[in-house]
Subunit: 415 residues, 2 copies
């Protein structure tokens, strides 16, 4: 058996234990893990220094290097995150509906853990703690395969989390960090159907595409967001500008940031100079179609590629259209189906946009930046699903559960 | 572009139309399709005769040949099925929850179609009509790849369904039957991620395994049922016998039929002769462990393979265990996680069985034969999911939908 098969088998055995674990006991593990992260800060930072040195030796710098860093503040943040998860309601066991059938059978639909969840992620080591917390709370065993840049840190974090499990009489294999960070180990994880119930990729577009294209284990596709804001002819332009600036600049590196503005021709002459000046003041590079360049000559000319690009940066594409239909078609063609917003005062256009745009989150008169488990009131999130099966949009604890039917009979047989 | 890519592209375009189609209009298509099936009976039967002749020439006989047959009664049954689907409530558009957040955003979760659904099935041509009806009602475009034995019949049915669509100003591509029934076309469908949102295999264990192992399109695994009935020490033995006989013999060829009895040692001496005589009277072959053979010498000795076998026939395996734990472990090891039932008068054992058995449907004191969309009150079903993502257990119309978040704002930006 390979490392992965052994870990898979152990995870599957552990899932039986976790399925039966009470909320109280799971919470004790989470709270102990939070305390241990603080107690063992020195160990974490020492491992992290090795990763950082290796990364620097390999030429990693700037924001990419920064993502790897764990310091006192970030470790405290991870510990706080675990305590917050402990404080949330446990969705496992909840009965969603219960109905009495004409034959007297009482049929209920109950939330249960999914089983074994694999997570493939890139450089941020905090995902180790975060994913462990969300999976444990929902009674799932987790197998974590992080990037090679953070492997020392991830293994140290894994050991600390396993200590918290063992101290509370849980099997250590409730969380397992894969040591082999080769491309082969990722590929093997994508084919581990025998042991894995679900695989979640967390990271950039390349990683997610690779997992979706190669995995035979069920996948939830997360994160890529080429989000649009459509400014309708009837928009309140002040509101529109404030929303566009917020959606583009408040945190440009995240998936729910806006990447493209679609503007109705009737307001183009008035709105384009207004919004472009405000964007420029925030150092945003503008790539527009001919009309945009016409009304704001400092804008660059957009290429076909721009319409489909998630910049994750202070760059925005901008297109002028002649009708709501054209806006909806443009969004349908280029969007990654994450979040889109219409800015309008027109009732019918608002309703049509909500109905006809096929994205995980569709807004009227609000910033796309709200697509987020915390903002939606879930208390935590494992990612934002941009696929249509199982979960769509922000995924909180409930989205990490499955259901089963429980049926109470008194001797019923089928005629 | 291949036949499949062309069909995929057209289906994706059609999905935009279907997403907006009202329930009234979709129902008109269904009702017209039901009428056309009756009007064009002669065409259907003529195509079916060609398939039947080819099948007979290829040595297909008995129940396998019977599955291919469409006669007047079966065509009427298909038409009736479409009318029943038309009469059901349309789940599309339903808002599942709507909440006002502290910042004033109103966030709703709305049911929407999934998009494009592929269905791979074996010989029964009625699946063409059935799948079309369920997918159209839920606003999904369908691409159907049936077995080569029924291809003439399937193509004729497809044309009739397309006529009903066109007469009602729907795009014909809302349902498309794949002409190429080679293994390659099935493989290509499993990789059609660009156009397919979901792939559902309907058929035997081999087909389902092949789809699960090879598909990169999201799959819902349906159907295989190695269902167990556990007769506890406290069971009412008369009730137990009636349930066992019903679950095994009422319709042995279906996935929710019982395949294995697990019997507590305390009642073995009394229950085994009783149930074995009743099973024998129904021509059921019994394959038991040593204890079973001891109490009922006419039983065959079961092999390790028997515990994991879905017979779909008048055969049953039978094992004696010493405790509820042992029963739950045995079921966990060999079950396909479809349906299991405990027969008991003991409250704690009933609750433990419901909580600890990890199957799509878990029963107390009832026959496993009830795991079915009609029996659960869904009115129709596309199959029974034995996986944990998206849908588990009988899948009705709701399970053929996704959700999206719709958010009503009045200028909210994120701080």
């Amino acid at each position: 058996m390979t490392e992965l098969q052994i870990k898979g088998k152990k995870a599957k055995e552990t899932a039986i234990f976790l399925r039966k674990a009470s909320s109280d006991k799971k919470n004790k593990v989470l709270i102990r893990a939070a305390a241990l992260l603080l107690e063992k800060q020195a160990d974490i930072i020492a491992s992290n220094k090795i990763d950082l040195k290796n990364a620097a030796d390999n030429g990693i710098t700037g924001p990419l290097l920064d993502r790897l860093v764990l310091n006192k503040t970030r470790i405290e943040g991870m510990a706080e995150g675990l305590k917050e998860i402990a404080a949330l309601a446990d969705p496992v066991g909840e009965v969603l509906q219960m109905e009495k059938r004409p034959n007297g059978l009482i049929i209920g639909k109950q939330r249960v853990p999914i089983g074994v969840i694999g997570i493939i992620f890139e450089s941020r080591p905090n995902v180790t703690v975060d994913a462990f917390g969300l999976c444990l709370k929902t009674g799932n065993a987790s197998i974590l395969r992080g990037g090679k840049e953070a492997i020392k840190t991830n293994l140290t974090l894994g050991k600390i989390l396993q200590q918290a499990l063992l101290e509370n009489n849980f099997p250590a294999e409730a969380v397992q960090v894969i040591e082999d960070t080769s491309r082969d180990s990722a590929r093997a994880l994508m084919k581990l159907n025998e042991y894995l119930d679900l695989l979640i990729p967390r990271g950039g577009a390349g990683l997610i595409r690779s997992v979706v294209e190669n995995s035979t284990v069920p996948v939830i596709e997360t994160g890529v967001g080429n989000c649009h804001i459509y400014v309708d002819s009837s928009a309140n332009l002040e509101k529109a500008a404030a929303i566009c600036i917020n959606a583009k600049t408040q945190r440009p590196g995240v998936c729910n940031a806006a990447e493209s503005l679609v503007i109705h021709t009737d307001i183009a002459e008035q709105f384009i100079p207004l919004i472009c000046e405000q964007l420029q003041a925030k150092n945003v590079e503008i790539r527009g179609d001919e009309t945009v360049v016409n009304y704001f000559p400092e804008a660059k000319k957009a290429t076909e590629e721009d319409w489909g690009t998630e910049y994750l940066d202070l760059i925005i594409s901008m297109k002028v259209i002649n009708s709501l239909d054209e806006a909806i078609n443009h969004i349908g063609k280029y969007s990654t189906k994450h979040s889109e917003s219409i800015i309008t005062e027109n009732y019918t256009n608002a309703q049509r946009f909500l109905n006809e745009v096929d994205s995980a989150a569709v807004y009227v008169n609000a910033s796309t930046r709200f697509t987020d488990g915390y903002e939606f009131g879930f208390g935590a999130e494992i990612g934002i699903s941009t696929q249509k099966l199982h979960a769509r949009g922000p995924m909180g604890l409930k989205e990490l559960t499955s259901t089963k039917y429980i049926i109470y009979g008194d001797g019923q047989i089928r005629e």
